[in-house]
Subunit: 385 residues, 2 copies
């Protein structure tokens, strides 16, 4: 096991009918800005519930945070914060809204050009407004971590920042809030959470048994419940398991003391920026080819994954690995998330542009061994056609 | 899954050579009281390392906190805190020292008779001194939770308290600090952690898949590494896995959203107080008979435990349950922890006294269904002879 620090102070309030807890979670004299995405927050009644729970606290609203939240939109929210003298933020939505809120929280306290927050991966953040979240979509884990991804439209850049100042103070996780989420977003959520686990698990062994077992438990859970979540009428228990699995997939726990990969995510970001694919679609396309292309470096963990997650024990090592990758791809496809670039109309001639963008963004040595060069990324993209 | 709140702000600093981190973790102007147990903290050099890391902070020391820390001893430490105007506590030791430090932290800020802290299970605690821990023994999980058990010698009472005010601010977990721990304490630690998991897992199903998989992962890890930890020369990786498994076994995570039992612990406390057995010895004695006596209420989870933890799938339900309980007992015995009352010289005539004490302490409806009456406890004790 590698040395590590683990610290996660976010309070989780999990279960049915938990939105009213906002009244105890937010200071009584707070001036609150509610941040949300599209119209569904209003239509489903969640915003009304939130307003009611806030009681007579002064509160304002900022809607329209898009999927892959943009620096440009969020900068408008920061202006609202300053204009209304806001001292508490409340994200109501999924990962994009929460990521955006993290940026607003940091930018509101930042002196200088707030894009610097992203250029230095958050090292520039010295303070942030306190905030909480009401989660309405399970996927990114943003509700219990200090990471955020923000897109600058002007330069076609998707940038990550991370700072302990932007842990949510609390997150309310009511699984029934996901009952109205469309199937495409539900499926994306399963793929996203699954890939988060794989990026922290499928590297090389360091004898971190608890982390491995936890990661395998999350993968098994997602495999068990994913099809039900996506294809069956909403039921509380499978949504609850989905929600808790997605939160645990990226709250720092399973990644503590182990190597981490993240090449699939980082190459995928370019696909989203250049071709507009959903984040999870990029993962579903790239992960199988990424595992295949890097099977030698990942051999021991791929075999462990095959055995413990997919119960594959027969045949040669490479056959077991082949089958595990095939089952991973079939799992994504069965959820309705296509796994080939060509399924999204992206052809071979797009690859040069993608590799060029990776180079421009410095993504030249990715993965747990920093051996995913531009050449390897090109191979992976070609194998994903 | 049941509704739950989860909040655990303790910072974990895990790995080799992490004691010097104290210098960053404790405020530079703190007046520190170091609390520890026996002479081993000095003999092994850990106290010297701690003193060095504290640099020129004013610090005092209070040794002699016993296993099953006593109210009487801890009250002396509270006097030291007041006399030296201490504003930060540092526990150096295992669960007893950390539990004791939690009590001292709360009692130092308490107005009135500090035994009230224990009589009201911590509800009386409104504030506590900040404190951290340097863990030298893996077992109780006290390093990352807000529970403590304190014994009042005068009345032969072992009392629990719990308060969010007594989360450690940080815990330093250096697995190599356990290299000098005697085999008996190592074995006790494995049994203690194992039973912590079982008390939160082996109840009745509520479709909490992540919690179940995590619990099973911890049990499998303890089964894999327990014998190595106890019987082989110290090696870093198995001690690291032991340390992290024991911490995760009782930090609130696997118990969030599921029913909990704790009857084995609560009956065991009387064995410790009346007969002086090690805490883990009481668990090793009682757990197998407790599972056996309550097999009907626990049937579904016992079968899941048999299959997923011990890989038992053949034969009838009751045969599988029998075998799982037998394997549990054999695991404890193989670690060198005897599982019968008679192994410790306790005979049938002691049972009346134990049941009487349970009644006096109000332990009349224990377990996840509150159906462990005094009569059930008597049956379990008789089956444990």
């Amino acid at each position: 096991m590698l040395n590590f620090q683990f610290h996660n102070p976010t309070r989780i309030v999990f279960g049915k009918d938990t939105v009213p807890a906002l009244d105890e979670l937010i200071p009584g004299d707070a001036r609150v800005l509610i941040l949300y995405g599209g119209q569904s927050a209003e239509r489903t009644g969640t915003l009304a519930e939130v307003r009611k729970a806030l009681g007579d606290r002064a509160h304002y609203e900022f809607g329209g945070i898009e999927p892959n939240p943009s620096f440009e939109t969020l900068t408008q929210a920061v202006e609202q914060v300053r204009f209304h003298n806001i001292d508490y933020l409340l994200a109501v939505g999924g990962g994009s809204v929460i990521d955006g809120t993290k940026f607003v929280a940091a930018a509101a306290k930042f002196v200088g050009d707030s894009w610097q927050i992203l250029e230095t991966v958050g090292g520039a953040v010295r303070d942030a407004l306190p905030f909480g979240a009401v989660l309405t979509l399970s996927a990114t884990g943003s509700e219990m971590n200090f990471n955020a991804v923000v897109t600058r439209k002007a330069t076609q850049t998707k940038a990550l920042f991370a700072s302990p100042h932007v842990f949510p103070q609390f997150s309310i996780l009511d699984p029934s809030k996901t009952f109205t989420v469309p199937a495409r977003q539900l499926a994306n959520g399963v793929v996203d959470a699954f890939t988060h686990v794989v990026e922290q698990y499928l590297t090389y062994p360091v004898d971190a048994r608890v982390q491995d077992r936890f990661a395998e438990g999350l993968l098994q859970t997602l495999i068990e419940i994913g099809p039900t979540v996506v294809s069956q009428p909403p039921d509380y228990q499978s949504r609850a398991n989905m929600m808790w699995a997605a939160t645990m997939a990226l709250n720092g726990l399973i990644g503590a003391g182990v190597p981490q990969d993240w090449a699939t995510h980082l190459v995928g970001h370019e696909l989203t920026v250049l071709h507009g694919l959903d984040h999870a679609q990029t993962l579903a396309i790239l992960l199988p080819s990424m595992l295949d292309a890097r099977r030698d470096g990942k051999r021991a963990k791929l075999l462990q994954y095959a055995e413990r997650v997919w119960h594959i024990t027969a045949d040669s090592e490479d056959e077991r690995i082949d089958l595990a990758i095939e089952k991973t791809r079939a799992f994504f496809e069965d959820l309705g998330v296509k796994t080939r670039l060509s399924d999204y109309g992206i052809q071979a001639e797009a690859i040069d542009g993608l590799v060029e963008q990776l180079g421009l963004h410095g993504m030249t040595r990715l993965g747990e061994r920093q051996d995913v060069t531009l050449e390897v990324s090109r191979t992976v993209l070609e194998a994903s056609l």
